[in-house]
Symmetry: C2
Subunit: 137 residues, 2 copies
């Protein structure tokens, strides 16, 4: 298992339309892409900050994971995504170590990455995502 | 206001002693420093992940900010810290833009950095810290 960097940070917001101007005009970051991820019931907006991206997440369905998160906890940081080399072997290693996997094998996420989530109950409260570029490793 | 990268991500944990082995032995990251920040009533453990640090935060006082956070929300991501060039001028700019500042001028944080916090009520739910190395800009 090799983590190289923080790939992105997922932040749940009620509305991209109202949050994007804060990130652009106040923080001075540039939104370079907006993408809907139907499977996750979210619309996402991406900002590059050094080596890491900020991924704003607006729910498209109150019953989706981000909709439920906002209802329970309000807007805020939703998940932490690491870039990991060898995603399937990393998941196998984590399962052996007793980590509860939400995804036992990689699936497609935003920006065409292969992704998998780890359950926060076994990661000290942090909903954790592992990401890998397709075709890598 | 110029943000260059994510300086660190603060993660609240109940116990460094139990959380550090997860970050080291499971995620494969290396704890390179443990430091107490008496003013913030926390003990911190640092891990470098690419350009960004993870800062685990264990409360040393249930009435401190991290103690209260864990009581209310449980363990999890506590704050997002950007490296910003020109900290005082950034704070002045943010105040002009209507952002609520927790710190109107920089103070000392962990690792000798000058830091200031922005209130999550004006940053779409994200407790946000700005950091700058002393003597910079």
């Amino acid at each position: 298992m090799k983590i190289t960097h923080i790939e992105h940070l997922g932040i749940a917001v009620k509305s991209l339309e109202t949050a994007i101007p804060y990130y652009e005009e106040v923080l001075g970051l540039k939104c370079y892409a907006i993408e809907e991820v139907a499977e996750q019931k979210v619309k996402t907006a991406f900002f590059q900050v050094g080596q890491t991206k900020i991924e704003l997440l607006e729910s498209t369905d109150p019953e989706g994971p981000v909709g439920k998160f906002i209802e329970k906890k309000g807007e805020g940081i939703h998940h932490l995504a690491f870039a990991a080399e060898g995603l399937q072997s990393s998941l196998d290693f984590l399962a052996e170590k007793g980590v509860t996997l939400i995804d036992k094998s990689p699936r497609k996420g935003a920006e065409g990455l292969n992704i998998a989530f780890l359950h926060p109950k076994s990661t000290f409260g942090v909903l954790t995502e592992l990401c890998e570029k397709p075709g890598c490793c």
